[in-house]
């Protein structure tokens, strides 16, 4: 049972990681907590339902559709909710937070309208495939989710540190005005970032659908809140932090249920976060900022 629970924890943690990566990317560049991310993630999951269950197409198309649709949603989010507020005189730094909350409410209601309030089934034969090692049953889905999370993290790290676009992004994150003076097309960089972050949300959505077969319009909120908690735990805007934070949260939740009382699942996970934050207020991988980015 220990190993099975370990795998459960890793699976859950990996999904948290992918959700958190989307948050951390947008926060790293824009210094904005994108409250709409959870709902974009939820839309990704629904795209999976539409493709696999309603249209009966294969799973890889679901990934493509989810990435495209959530990418487009990300583009709209940037164009309508973030860009109009950026760099304007007298706009409170809380304004983008509120406008993304608006986006999240809008998206949740749209999903509610089109898909209904209940759970939608996600039918794919992939979720049945498994192999047995001794007394432990391992599902391919669990491995796939873990691998995708690792790939996304390394891909993102590589992209940020080695590619030109990634460097432009980090420069923009450092200082938008200076980066723009040095010839970085900051507008394009920001749009690109939001789209990539949203597409990652879409991938996470599909993975949740495969792993748990539970897709409903309210799922964005619970996963979104967990994602937020993780980036605070791991250090805001830090890719490795999101990875470690997500795995810690997923493991903590699973093991509390397995060896403690399932009623305390969320409580203990968040208490762990509070404790870590008391010890390291900047998060596990965060660097103590001294007033950088006002």
């Amino acid at each position: 049972m220990l190993i099975e629970q370990l795998i459960n924890g890793l699976t859950l943690g990996s999904i948290y990681v992918i959700v958190a990566l989307g948050y951390t990317l947008v926060f790293g560049v824009l210094n904005v907590v994108n409250m709409g991310h959870g709902e974009i993630f939820m839309f990704g999951a629904f795209m999976g339902v539409v493709v696999t269950n309603i249209l009966g197409w294969p799973l890889y198309i679901a990934f493509v559709v989810a990435i495209v649709v959530t990418g487009i949603l990300g583009y709209f989010l940037e164009t309508f909710a973030l860009r109009p507020l950026r760099g304007k005189e007298g706009v409170s730094h809380l304004a983008p937070l509120i406008s993304t909350i608006g986006v999240s409410i809008f998206l949740e209601n749209v999903a509610h309208h089109f898909f209904g309030s209940g759970n939608q089934p996600f039918r794919t034969s992939l979720s049945e495939l498994k192999f047995v090692l001794g007394s432990t049953t391992v599902y391919y889905v669990q491995i796939i989710i873990f691998v995708i999370a690792i790939l996304l993290m390394f891909g993102l790290t590589f992209w940020l540190s080695k590619t030109k676009a990634g460097k432009a992004l980090r420069a923009s994150a450092e200082n938008l005005a200076v980066a723009s003076l040095l010839g970085v097309n900051t507008k394009r960089t920001i749009t690109q970032t939001v789209i990539i972050a949203s597409a990652m949300g879409g991938i996470a959505g599909i993975l949740v659908g495969i792993a748990f077969n539970s897709v409903n319009p309210q799922m964005g909120l619970s996963f979104g809140l967990k994602g937020l908690a993780i980036i605070i735990l791991g250090g805001l805007g830090n890719v490795r932090g999101a990875m470690v934070g997500g795995l810690i949260l997923g493991m903590a939740e699973t093991f509390i249920v397995a060896y403690g009382d399932s009623g305390y699942r969320d409580a203990v996970a968040f208490i762990a976060i509070i404790v870590i934050l008391i010890v390291r207020p900047q998060g596990i991988f965060g660097t103590a900022t001294t007033g950088r980015k006002g």
Binding site: P121, A211, F212, S222
Partner: protein
Amino acid sequence: MSKRSKLLFTVLMAFTLVMLAACGNSSTDDTESADSDDVVKAKVGVISYLTGSGASYGEAITNGINLAHKEITELGEVDIELKIEDSAGKQEEALSVAQKLMNSENVDAIIGPTLSTEMQIVGPEADLNGVPILGTSNTAEGIPQLGEYVFRNSIPETLAIPASVQKAIDKYGAKKVAILYGNDDVFTKAGYDTMKQVAEDLDLEVLTTETFQLGQSDYKAQLTKIKSLNPDLVLASALYNEGAVILDQARKMGIDVPFVGGNGFNSPEVIKIAGDAANGLIVATPWFAKKDDEKVKKFVEDYEAAYGMEPDQFAAQAYDGFYVMAEAIKNAGEADRDAIRDALAEIKDFEGVLGNMSFDEEGDIIMEPTVLIIEDDEYVVFE
């Protein structure tokens, strides 16, 4: 000009008078003919949740009552006049329409209100006024105990869950159970309390008690734990939305023992969401539309013809409720509130679409719920 309008007015008034007189005449005729036939004439008030978020319940209930009313009127054994009022699911509105029905409409009996919370306010008031009141959809604890005049024909969870657990034990010889319930919802929590009680009463060994929250998607940690303990039966107090996902994850994980659920788990949606994984779910229900019974078949047919949908539990309970009320009025022999109350209390072995119904001394329903199991993606009677 004014002269002409005056004339017009006079003519109109005269016309109205004639109309009224005609109406009065015809109604007296009715009463006379009724009296001569020795048919009891009574007035029954209905309080229902007709506007607001729970309007679909009220609609099903009034549909059921209207259908029963039509059939009874055609039979002609009793002549009942219906007064349907909307409570909007609110206690204060339920009370004010109840007062209106009892004091100005002078009804002989009341059916409704829809919610248990409404009944908790309306019941004592009806009892005080000596008006028999029959709830058809109130399942909370303590409803019939509100007063001597308060009855209900809806079986509570505390009756439904033991029935299904007992049957499952008889069939599978289960001794060890695992309990799983939603701990942030009053309804599933109450279901859990009943399950715990049942497990104690039947000497079952509870291996573990696990909880979850509304809207959760990952139940694998709980289920892995349950699987490792190897129960003979899983008792799950969940609403169908979470319940279906739990079943799906449990079956994929290899937990293939039967699940016993509460009333919240009883929905065709479970099959829609969980597919084959739903097989082996046992629930108890007062109403089963596919029962092999003439009465049930006819009711389902007539209801579908009249309203274009299959009757649900609320429609069936209201339909039977009205029949029970009509039976009591017939037995009472007069439109007298006390006589109707006594006749209601004496109802015994009444055959309705729900099954065989009687009232106990407190006015609560005595009825065998139908225990169902999902087999081959379909609810069938569990035997």
